[in-house]
Symmetry: C2
């Protein structure tokens, strides 16, 4: 049996493998606060790269950043009936603003400091931002408003999992207001496209863009669009959503404007967001049984240089060589900037050091000892394929950008093939049931993948799906919409949807 | 009387002038949540520039970013006695995690969801971060830990003022742990120096670096260092602090390590932070009675191009010219990047448009109409001096970086002169009293400035200062420490401190 750096393997226990990859890569850990995580420097650096890229994409599509309060007055939540139904259930409620010692000296909330109206820690900001937009918008000249916010939000989750579902998480939420439904609809689709672009070209994770069915919509939205990705256990992960809110929130929050004919109109609004869940998606898409594999465009470091020496003499020869190579590599262009290089000169065993960077997913590792220097080369290992080759120094410098591009492409193609190999068109109930039954009783997590099926929404389908723990991920956008009949009820169906087990 | 864009003027009512400058520049506004502000896009863009610059400085000094939970268990606060005394008094307390409708349908906190232990919304993160470091540190090899966090924090303030004191604010908090007191002390001073560098060379705001006296220290710190700046009403504003925490927090949180001799030791920790208050400091340092003046290095836009035309014919001539000029200017280097250019082609009156950008503080404005184009030039206005000159197009492109540098320098020199003109060495009680008595009864806000005095800490001085609403800002670092006697008590004194009225 091959020894792997991560125990268990994906095949043996996928959920536990995921936790162990995160741990071995130093991405994050559970904190002392229930359901809240600590994002460690290596994990946060990945998130920073995601942020920087997305932020540039938002600005390129005309958006500006702003910041709105963390707290939402309880009464605001109640203004949009569906919204409160979806969000008010589990949230952090601030009821007091002072602590005092009790008789024993233990701190307790001061009863005298109870708030007249409790405050909710934002689970999402449609209501507080809508109330602000209502003040900003008077005329059609004030529209559109195209604003994004980078923030933390809190949803009181019962079962949490690092990155995928945590009580507090980091995200961005775009909130826009428009004069017409068409403009708002266009914006909704534009931002869905930005998310898909980012996921495919930066995370290297293929996604299916589609519309959610009625039951899966954002609370208060007219329509919700999503990007769905397949993880290595063949489950679907919702990686981002973009909502066309119609006039639901503008009516609840009184976002009104005078149009060109002097008539009062309600604005049309959208919202869209992605979260630190994307880090989890990245991990589950690319990593293997030796740990994290980072797509180069988002990797905090592209290459780690590992100096090897056994004496002070060798050290004084190897270190300057490695420093010089670092400078040369750092001068090379890659993606939207320069090549990011680190040297690991810690005084630990070479094997341990090498595995450290394997587990952390650094795309390239270069070992450099006196023998390599004699040949003016390095011993180069590629994380995604495991390939190891001797490379001449000037060759490495000249090809570093190209090598990283190859890795990025390989990761995307590998993930795409995984999805294609595990997606089937299914028309019959028996096939559907067989498809979603795990083949291996030892590992019920891994099943057959995505099924493209005709369907008819309704209680019968809902109940069936709930029973079998399968969900409708989305109705894909584009492609021919040939008609058919629902695999379960036989009712007529206009299009196929993606069915899958999901996170 | 000269008409100004901002009413009242600085001279007439400085605090109200400050609010009006913020309003006229679209920097921020009060939200519907008590004490919390909405940071609008123009204000947030200034903060983003501050963040990006500081973040680069932190990384250049070896720090990494991470993220820790928003919530702190109540019991954590109680571990460090001084700390809880300073922070537990006014804070947001989360007591429930669910809302339910009451009999009338109104949402209330669900009594069944009461938390066993209340959670505090972080007022600062020493305790939760310390608890995490305790898990990360075992050996001296795990030290130093050099981490920064960009986050929101909440302190329940009774009287709030936009940017200067708000219930929720944005900040960064650095938290480091070291093996020796010397290293921790060095780190404390290094980061104070980074803050001073940033304030002087980016905000263009001169600061005095110094130590806080015992009464003004951060709760739980061994020593607190500060940078203090003079605002235009001659009051002091604390612009950033860096704390040497000794072993106080490591003892409270059990951050222990095995040293090279195998002995268990407590780590030495520091913390340091600056906040969105810096945006308020920027506003109060540079702005005038026509509104905001932005130091170019932090300005979201360096120059606004204002096309002028009266017909479609003129428009079709002017707009392409302006677009071309924008591209040329954007190709020029300035500070750490390129020149940031905007075109304002809104269909509003020219005067209104011009004042819009005056009030928003854009460093340079260029009007471009058919007559200017005929001369292949622009009519250029400088925000800091009000100077207006005709400039040949290629000249403008060639000198744009230099012009911005001149403005940046002028703003710093002007603020430095303001501080020097309003700082005096004072040795006698009568002089001290006269100095801090406003000269103009109509405007009690504006008084004489900073006083450099010998002093002896103690209840007598404390009481005196409290009565006269004067505070000791800091004991400046460096400079000769000639001895003397306290201006109030006559007791011996080793050094002078900065005395001032303060925000």
């Amino acid at each position: 049996m091959a020894k792997t750096a991560i125990t268990p393997t994906r095949q043996d226990d996928y959920p536990e493998w995921f936790q162990q990859v995160i741990r071995a890569a130093d991405l994050a850990e559970n904190s002392d606060v229930r359901g809240c995580m600590v994002i460690k420097p290596w994990g946060y650096a990945v998130w920073e790269n995601m942020q920087r890229t997305l932020d540039g994409m938002f600005k390129a599509t005309g958006h500006e950043n702003a910041y709105f309060p963390l707290f939402i007055p309880l009464s605001f939540l109640q203004k949009e009936a569906d919204h409160v139904e979806g969000f008010a259930k589990e949230c952090a409620v601030v009821t007091h603003h002072r602590l005092v010692p009790d008789a024993s000296g233990k701190l307790i909330p001061d009863p005298a400091s109870q708030l007249e109206e409790p405050l909710i820690v934002r689970p999402t900001s449609e209501t507080i931002i809508g109330a602000t937009y209502a003040k900003w918008v008077q005329s059609h000249r004030d529209l559109p408003i195209l604003i994004n916010q980078w923030a933390n939000v809190v949803r009181w989750e019962m079962r949490t999992r690092l990155f995928l579902r945590t009580t507090e998480f980091l995200w961005q939420e775009g909130h826009t207001a428009h004069a017409t439904a068409e403009e708002a609809q266009e914006e909704t689709m534009r931002m869905l496209g930005v998310y898909a672009d980012f996921c495919e070209n930066w995370i290297g994770m293929p996604v299916i863009q589609g519309a959610k069915t009625a039951g899966e919509r954002f609370p208060g939205a007219v329509s919700t669009y999503t990007i769905e990705a397949m993880m290595q256990d063949r489950k679907a992960l919702q990686a981002g959503t973009s909502h066309f809110l119609g006039q639901n929130f503008s009516k609840a929050q009184e976002i009104k404007f005078q149009d060109q004919n002097g008539q009062q109109q309600y604005a049309w609004t959208t919202s869209w967001g992605v979260t630190t869940r994307l880090v989890g998606a990245l991990v589950m898409t690319h990593s293997d049984d030796d740990g994290l594999i980072l797509p180069p465009r988002l990797a905090p470091k592209h290459i780690v240089l590992l100096p090897i020496y056994r004496s002070d003499d060798e050290k004084s020869q190897v270190l300057p060589y490695v420093e010089g190579l670092k400078k040369e590599l750092e001068a090379q262009d890659y993606s939207d900037g320069k090549v990011r290089v680190m040297i690991d000169d810690r005084d630990i065993r070479g094997g341990e050091k090498n595995w450290h960077h394997v587990k952390r997913g650094v795309p390239l590792r270069a070992e450099i000892g006196p023998k390599d220097i004699a040949k003016n080369g390095v011993f180069l290992a590629r994380r995604d394929t495991g390939e190891k080759v001797g490379v001449e120094r000037s060759q490495l410098v000249a090809t570093i950008g190209q090598r990283l591009t190859e890795i990025q492409d390989n990761l995307f193609q590998r993930a795409l093939k995984m999805r294609e190999d595990n997606t089937r068109t299914i028309d019959k109930l028996d096939d559907f049931l067989a498809y979603f039954t795990p083949k291996n009783a030892d590992n019920p997590e891994i099943h057959a993948g995505f099924a493209m099926c005709h369907f008819a929404e309704g209680p019968e389908l809902d109940e069936f799906l709930k029973k079998h723990k399968v969900t409708i991920r989305c109705i894909p956008i584009g492609g021919a919409g040939e008609g058919g009949t629902c695999f379960l009820t036989g009712k007529p169906s206009a299009r196929r949807a993606v069915f899958a087990k999901a996170y």
